[in-house]
Amino acid sequence: MILISLIVRRTAALFCALLCLTAGAKAQVFSPETVTLANGLQVVAINNPRAPVVAHMVWYRIGAADEPPRKSGIAHFLEHLMFKGTKDIPPGEFSKMVANNGGRDNAFTSYDYTGYFQNIARDRLELVMRMEADRMSNLILTDAEVNPEREVIREERRSVVDNNPRSRLREQMNAALYLNHPYGRPIIGWDHEIQGLTTEDALAWYRAYYAPNNAVLVVAGDITMAELKPLAEKYYGVIPAKPVAQRLRPTEPVPQAARRIELKDARVRQVSLSRTYLAPSYVAGETEHADALQVLAEIFGGGVTGRLHRALVLDKPLATGAGAYYDPDSLDLTGFGVSASLRGEAKLEDLEAALEAELRRLIEEGVTEEEVARAKTRLRAAAIYARDSLQGGARAIGTAIVTGTGIEQVETWPQRIAAVTAAQVTAAARAVLREERSVTGLLLPKPGS
């Protein structure tokens, strides 16, 4: 809704670094308590009383990958429109009321979920619960509000994608990676389809999927379940459950051929090379590799001591930076990515050959126990750091629940990561890093520019 209304998952490496860290933030660290109300709303409390403040979040189990044909962008569009008012709260007043009580609010849309949050003083929690519950079932939309917002979203798309060659390439790579699954569409939508989204489309989406039985309430900070539950009953418990259609998404076939995308843009001043492999998540595909792949991403592309950085940046003057990323929190098949940015006078062919050589060495020789031990140390520390913020726990727990794993998965994360062996990491690399599962993307300057 505000500046970060869009979670462009599996595209921004930087974002993944943050999310993966948060996702890594698991670890019997947050010690959440959970109950489910009679109307089906799951309620989670995460006690972290460092300051008299709370993060209040509502997550809906619906996202951009659930959109019907020709309606790409409707999940994100509705996210924006959720701020357009109800009978009791006039258009545009929601955020003002939060701010006038010293709070900050925003929202985000992903492929698998849509979320809304307010960070606010503990004694204002009841206010935001009342307001968030109100818009769960009482949203009012008119063309007068919807039409300008469509232009806002088109401007958002211009800022985030069209004005940025790297984003343009990522969008094209995503579309090529998924042969059948809607993860191949941009979360924000294709511009030509955004133009056709109507008030009725938004309301139909809202009526179909916004319901307590399709939502999760997470409150973190200066709060306990004993305090939260009566409030949740009072504000959310009175909203009736309603039937929500099962999500039926197209599924991916077994990929048969490596794909290669070249994006040429006159603004490109640094050639870059990236590759994404179709990969299992915690709940889709060969899920037994999900933990090992997190360790693999750390060994192969974590920070400046990862293999890729050493080989491409330090050992040979081929790249200015190189890394890998993987995010297992996904309802369907996700991506394992590697990338490098070409250095100075180096040649793209040499960079690509060196990257291939590292991949080959990884597949043929595997990883060592020492590398695994070092990676695990780093991942475990991330869990402790993640407690050092108000929203870290709420994000990790919420994401886990709405991407099909749940609190237990979060709680057992440190033990599972600690148990990963070098043989498992090597096996995961061999299973996933296969040419025919991959899309390679090249960002190139436009000739003559």
């Binding site: 009791d88 603004r267 520390a381 750091y385």
Partner: protein, 462 residues
């Protein structure tokens, strides 16, 4: 229901918000180095933030980008540890250590698990007192910086910010490219890096904040160990006070992008200006308050002209600025700017409504505790309060300073602060039907929209 909700809102708005309670210890090391500390042993993490007065604006002429390059090079090996060993030592223990140059400051931050604090302190000490600056590492980092400069020189936001500063401050250090140019960076060697280190990273310039799982005694020992070896004092280039030039002009930099990016601004207030708190409130109302600002309402909500439109106070050490920005598709740029200028001037003429003033105060006081949720943010705030000489009781006094702003203050400062005819505006893109002077894009640089006055370690004290 409507009535009940409204009543509740009114009551809540009247009730005082809880104060941010935080005990700050003033720690002086046996060797006489001072730091402020907020202890919290609930989580085994220690954050240390520090800032040296003197940043990119103090670079000798012709050495643009020096401070920024130094920030990158301080973690590329020190003492007996070459670059790889140094960085492995950090990564293996998940110690986060980094430096950043602002225009006015050079800042550093350290975050570590308590169990690794001794090693983290050693690595920080080495980085400050015995950096290696090896030729191969310097060449590699310079290549990275240079290509980053070339890349960002194609980014509309960067071009807009760079052109604004260059036009606003001709011949002044603030007008120079903070992160240098490809040529200036290519010419930098280890010698000027050492010179800047010696003259600027000195104890008389140093401000330190710490938060987390550490005792005052432990911090005192750490301070001497880490910072005791720095030179007592140094001499750096003086930066003259300046006022922005070329006000009222509109510059257009032609770039083939679908959406034009705009940066605009004129003189504002510095941090030590008696009107700073009033200006903070006014900025929040006009364009600093996200969704609740007048600019967002008029430009985004009513007309769908932009995804993001904002204003902010650019409080540098030697100039105060009142800035803003947005991005709109090329065909509607003129309309966007017209709406912004109209609102800007109307706000200057009329000031805020009493509701706006009251709501801004509630937000600015009530949201303050939200900034204190992580150790490094707390440590950063401690640096900021010291940097601005606000006093160790500032957090307790802050609400009163904001509450004390009257409508008469607001109207007077609004007249002083918002003058649409003074706006120096830079538009990057292919704006249709906009009058302005076409200028070429300036040399490739790395600073985004006007660069931060301070390194992150010292920002955020407002």
């Amino acid at each position: 229901m409507t009535f009940i909700v409204r009543l509740l809102l009114v009551l809540l708005a009247l009730a005082p918000l809880p104060a941010a309670s935080m005990t700050i210890d003033r720690v002086t090391s046996p060797g006489g180095i001072e730091a402020w500390l907020v202890r919290d042993n609930k989580i085994p993490v220690v954050a240390l933030e520090f800032t040296f007065r003197g940043g990119a604006a103090s670079e000798p002429g012709g050495q643009e980008g020096l401070a920024s390059l130094l920030a990158s090079m301080l973690i590329e090996g020190a003492g007996d540890l070459d670059s790889r060993s140094f960085q492995s030592a950090l990564e293996d223990r998940v110690i986060s250590l980094g430096f950043e140059a602002g225009l006015d400051t050079f800042g550093g931050s350290l975050k570590t698990l308590t169990e690794n604090l001794d090693i983290a302190a050693d690595l920080l000490r080495l980085s400050l007192t015995a950096p290696r600056f090896e030729a191969a590492d310097l060449a590699r980092v310079k290549d990275r910086v240079i290509i980053g400069l070339r890349r960002s020189a194609e980014e509309p936001n960067t071009i807009a910010g760079r052109t604004w500063m260059e036009t606003g401050f001709p011949g002044h250090p603030y007008g120079r490219p903070t992160r240098g140019t490809p040529d200036s960076v290519a010419n930098l060697t280890a010698e000027p890096l050492r010179g800047f280190l010696r003259q600027t990273l000195t104890r008389d310039n140093l401000i330190i904040g710490a938060a987390g799982d550490i005792t005052p005694e432990g911090l005192g020992r750490l301070l001497d160990h880490v910072f005791g070896g720095l030179p007592a004092r140094g001499e750096r280039e003086a930066v003259p006070e300046i006022k922005p030039h070329n006000l009222g002009r509109t510059l257009i930099v032609r770039k083939a992008v679908p959406q034009s990016v705009m940066t605009f601004g004129h003189a504002g207030v510095k941090r030590d200006d008696p009107d700073f708190y009033t200006a903070t409130i006014l900025n929040y109302i006009l364009g600093g308050g996200g969704f609740n600002s007048r600019l967002t309402t008029e430009v985004r909500e009513k007309r769908g002209l932009a995804y993001s439109v904002y204003s902010y106070l650019g409080s540098y050490d030697y100039v105060g600025l009142m800035m803003g920005g947005t991005a709109t598709e090329n065909a509607r740029v003129a309309q966007s700017l017209e709406v912004i200028r109209r609102e800007w001037q109307r706000f200057g003429d009329e000031g805020p409504t009493s509701d706006e003033l009251a709501n801004a105060k509630t937000y600015l006081t009530g949201s303050f505790p939200l900034r204190l949720d992580a150790s490094n943010r707390i440590a950063r705030l401690l640096v900021s309060i010291q940097y601005d000489n606000l006093g160790i009781d500032y957090i307790d006094r802050r609400s009163a300073l904001i509450e004390g702003v009257t409508m008469a203050d607001a109207r007077r400062v609004a007249r002083r602060l918002f003058k649409a005819d003074d706006l120096l505006t830079v538009v990057v893109g292919q704006p249709a039907g906009l009058e302005g002077t076409e200028v070429p894009a300036s040399a490739p640089t790395g600073s985004g929209s006007p660069p931060p006055a301070r390194a992150p370690s010292s920002s955020g004290g407002g």
